[in-house]
């Protein structure tokens, strides 16, 4: 049984005098213990909002969450705030993108890490501080006792991110949501952090939701990958399947538009035309249709459903005219 079960999640932001914004719609996915699931998409596709909804961090007013989010059988969307506070930080933890803005600049690192321990694990100050030091050590921060007394600005970017991960790991969460955990970091530091997250999943069976725009990161660590566009999942498959035979034109477009280090140079990149702003509402058709190479007439007449792919096993697709697998093989040759 899966640990996290998200069914038909929708998030609608409303503001007086403005049209409602449906940021996320029909999002369904599940994560089992010890599994890593990737949510991939560009800015504005709804991936971060999805994670905030799971954490119960969306504002009470102005954001309507529909559908169901079940964590180990408990429905989170209707959970009272005090119960949610009990889960958050203990069973479900999150690593945010920017370590500078998610750490409090005027409070020493130590106090921020021990806060979680004292709140959820009822430790006294001495025990919490000892535990915090061992947590920092575990995430690879040298000289943890000294670092605990320091303020965020005294740490480098990589170390701040590791401190954030240490806070998230403090209560051995069963579910960890990492929202672009390495985007603000350099590649050599990114490699360290990703290695740390992989170890965590393998060693303690944590379920990991990895939110990123970097297909390379996904290729290295996610068991299954959900590609989002304009608030909906447009393709879902295992990473092996997805990178071998991307079927949705958006996924294929993303892959064709990033230069690869290990391939011959000189080929022109094939960008996706237009920008993520050029969408049509899903109620009128496929949001990707205005930018799509494979557009056919029906694409702008109604929205496709996310259904199992007829040609490939274990592959879901939201597309009327997906890329032909045979055609794709011809391209890769």
């Amino acid at each position: 049984m899966s640990l996290l079960d998200v069914r038909d999640l929708s998030i609608v932001f409303s503001r007086r005098g403005r049209r409602d914004v449906r940021a996320v719609d029909e999002v369904t996915f599940s994560v089992a213990a010890g599994e890593t699931v990737g949510l991939v998409g560009e800015s504005g596709c709804g991936k971060s909002v999805t994670s905030l909804a799971i954490m119960g961090l969306l504002p009470k007013r102005g954001a309507a969450v529909g559908g169901s989010i079940k964590f180990d059988g408990t429905e989170l969307t209707s959970l009272p705030a005090d119960k949610m506070r009990g889960l958050r930080g203990r069973d479900i933890a999150m690593v945010f993108q920017d370590p500078m803005t998610s750490l409090n600049p005027v409070i020493p690192i130590g106090l921020q890490v021990t806060e979680v321990l004292r709140r959820h694990r009822d430790m006294d100050a001495a025990a919490a501080s000892k535990e915090a030091a061992s947590l920092l050590e575990r995430v690879g921060i040298p000289d943890p006792a000294r670092r605990l007394k320091e303020y965020p600005h005294q740490l480098s970017g990589g170390m701040r991110q590791r401190a954030l991960i240490a806070m998230a790991l403090a209560c051995k969460p069963r579910l960890l949501i990492a929202d672009e955990p390495t985007t603000a970091l350099d590649v050599t530091i990114q490699a360290q952090i990703l290695e740390l997250l992989k170890e965590l999943v393998v060693d303690s069976g944590t379920a990991l939701v990895m939110i990123t725009h970097d297909l390379g990161v996904v290729a290295g660590m996610c068991d299954s990958v959900h590609v989002m566009y304009s608030g909906r999942i447009v393709e879902r498959a295992s990473r092996w399947e997805l990178f071998e035979a991307p079927r949705h034109p958006y996924t294929a477009g993303l892959l064709a538009s990033v230069p690869r280090l290990d391939q011959a140079r000189g080929e022109k990149l094939e960008p996706i035309p237009g920008s993520p702003r050029d969408t049509i509402p899903w109620t009128q058709g496929c949001a990707f249709a205005p930018r799509c190479r494979n557009r056919i007439e029906s694409c702008t007449q109604g929205a496709p459903e996310l259904v199992a792919d007829k040609l490939r096993p274990d592959h879901d697709l939201r597309c009327f005219n997906p890329i032909d697998v045979a055609e794709q093989e011809a391209v890769t040759l």
Binding site: V187, L215, V217, A219, G220, V258, R265, G266, K268, P276
Partner: protein, 369 residues
Amino acid sequence: MSTEKQQPAGNGRDAENLLSVRGLQVHFPIKKGILVDRVVGHVKAVDGVDLDVAKGTTYGLVGESGCGKSTLGRAILRLIEPTAGTISFDGVDVRAQRGEDMRRLRRRMQMVFQDPLASLDPRQSVESVLTEPLRTHGYGNGKADHAKRVRELLDVVGLPANAAGRYPHEFSGGQRQRVGIARALALSPDLIIADEPVSALDVSIQAQIVNLLEELQEQLGLTYIVVAHDLAVVRHVSDTIGVMYLGALVEESPSDDLYAEPLHPYTIALMSAIPIPDPKVEERRERILLTGDLPSPANTPPGCRFHTRCPFRQPKRCADELPALREIRPGRKVACHYAEDIAAGHIRPAESVHDPAATEVGTPTVVAS
């Protein structure tokens, strides 16, 4: 492809160099004191860089944040005044130029910045953004010429003509970057320094801008210096790549060879750390993890700058002798005492290296994934 690209400029590296930089230094003073400033040290942001860029080619500068690559880019344009060294642009000694001469020279050297939203004035329309350089440098004869040039520029960067009347916030990120590029092109420069031109953009948009830069180079014979941290992008656009670490070049190589066979230990680690969007490749890659962070440029390690984190570190020379950037094969320069031995496989990365001096920044390990 790369050889074709270099052809217009002659034979690649022997071609006429548009830009030659020798021993360039940018040292920022660290000051202390309340009433009287005392200089207590220097941040060596750029510490002795030599580079040559041939006409019509692209030189890529890569490195991690804090390595000095952006400072180097700006110092070449004298947007930051270098503290030592020479810059020769088309035979002109840039650092010797004063006042009006320097201003005229700037027409030929332009810059494209990283974040188009931050580098465009939100209250200035695109037309005004593009006309400003034309006015300042006395382009053409009056307004009609300026309007014509603005239309040309918008066309060249692929923006509709009606974009002229609009303001930066009305554009998407990719379009804004096109405005930034149009501004750099306004005075038909020879050299464009692009500082992280695509890193603020969405993945699907990055390729559009990369392609635009390449097309412009073909059409207008531009010379680029592209500064970026994304090696895959840099390799795609560049003919030659310089890898920087702590203010100095540690390796310079034709871009095709750099991934195939990186020579400097830092480049080797950097290459192995870059994720590749293909699970099959990712599964069998050997990843060399560097532990620790970049040492402070105010207090650079003695000897080789990289020796505190180097997985190939040897007991001799590394800690006390600064390696020079030397050409060990035609076109391939590397600043490592043991580059030949590493390339030949005589020296393997250490499983773990123990050195009391290195504990501060951690010890390098090798992880096979």
